[in-house]
Amino acid sequence: MITLLDLLSIGAIGAGTFFFFAGTVGLLRFPDSLTRLHALTKADNLGLGLVVLGLIPHAESALAAFKLIVIWALVLLSGASAAQLIGRALRRDRK
């Protein structure tokens, strides 16, 4: 029996997987480091967010759901910061 929540999960995790796939393709195919960085961080942040969104209805407790969101927030924070740091290192090398 598939409920509405299950459909939401399938849709969100499917969309999240698509963003991971698109990010991976970008990482492999884009021409230089800055564009590859763009593909990786944008797609991973959104992809993981959608996967987390899809998993929340199936979390065992409210605390578990909160932990999922915290994991996403931490990945957002570290991913965005690391992208900035790598980007600056690239610009410094180019000068």
Binding site: S81, L85, R88
Partner: protein
């Protein structure tokens, strides 16, 4: 039909592939990144082997701390490289090294393939022993670490201190007692400062939680301590804090606190409970948590000191 066996095989192949790539990579930085990825993949392997405690350690130490250590070492090597001309070892030497590596690998492989079935294991004995003195603990891994093989666990922490002493003793004579060079020479960069300010409070909280929960669930002093150490390193990289002088009293106390408390309680056990490192049964859990709290401090102090390197004497003024 489950997909898990296929994922396991894929994971195993990936670990081997990343391992080969790490060895084969010519660029130092690329090899270090490969090694970090290898450590994180190994953490997944341990999860699949139902060993979350080992997985946490592998992710924190193998993936995180060792990666920072190797990157820092690589940077210092890069500064030295211009001095020494790169000498390629001769063909005979390379052949010899290759043959030696093949011999060691095949001996290891042969040993694993000829294991009796079931393989000899100390696990049942250890679980039984842990049932004794560490019975109050819900996590058998912590019980084994702190009760069955407590002496080994203490010696591991002493090895960490010896490593720090070794790093410190590389410094110049006139720098002795001073502070190691800052982890970043340049002006701090805003996103790095932001990351450290946001991440450090969360990381410290999670680190202490992992230590505290280690008595009943996967976790423990080493995993928690490695996380605390990582947070200290992040704040040092953002120049929010500077490495401390190595003759600071609090630093020395923090380094020896874990093994010292462990040893004192172990000796007390010889008097009170009848044997070295034995705990009175009713007090086993509080005693183990007490020791682990000090070990947490020692690990959180020792790992960043390894990364910070020898005292430089430049930041003395």
């Amino acid at each position: 039909m489950s997909a898990l066996p296929y994922i396991d095989v894929g994971l195993a192949l990936l670990v081997v592939a990343v391992g080969i790539w790490t060895v084969a990579a010519r660029d130092l930085f690329a090899a270090v990144i490969g090694y970090v990825a290898y450590g994180l993949l190994l953490a997944f392997v341990w999860i699949r082997l139902y060993a979350p405690d080992v997985a946490l350690t592998e992710a924190a130490v193998g993936g995180g701390v060792t990666g920072v250590l190797l990157i820092t070492a690589g940077k210092r090597l890069g500064a030295v490289k211009n001095v020494a001309p790169e000498a390629q070892p001769g063909l005979p030497l390379r052949l010899l090294a290759g043959i030696l590596a093949v011999l060691v690998a095949s001996a290891l492989g042969a040993a694993i393939l000829t294991l009796p079935d079931p393989p000899p294991s100390l696990a049942p004995e250890a679980a039984l022993a842990a049932d004794g003195a560490g019975a109050g603990l819900g996590n058998p891994i912590t019980a084994v670490l702190m009760s069955y093989r407590s002496f080994d666990t203490m010696l591991e922490k002493i090895v960490l201190i010896l490593a720090v002493v070794g790093v410190w003793s590389v410094g110049a004579d006139e720098a002795w007692g001073g502070a190691p060079a800052p982890l970043r020479q340049s002006r701090p960069y805003a996103p790095m400062v932001f990351l450290a300010q946001m991440l450090a409070p969360v990381g410290v909280l999670v680190g202490i939680h992992i230590f505290w929960t280690g008595a009943n669930a996967p976790g423990g002093a080493f995993q928690g301590g490695a996380l605390l150490a990582a947070m200290w390193m992040v704040t040092m990289m953002a120049r929010l804090t500077e490495p401390p002088r190595i003759d600071a009293r609090w630093l020395r106390l923090a380094l020896v606190a874990g093994p010292a408390v462990f040893l004192v309680i172990g000796l007390a056990g010889a008097v009170i409970a009848g044997s070295f490192f034995a705990y009175p049964h009713s007090l086993a859990k509080p005693i183990i948590l007490f020791i682990e709290a000090f070990m947490l401090v020692s690990i959180a102090a020792a790992l960043p000191m390894l990364v910070a390197g020898p005292p430089s004497g430049r930041s003395d003024q």
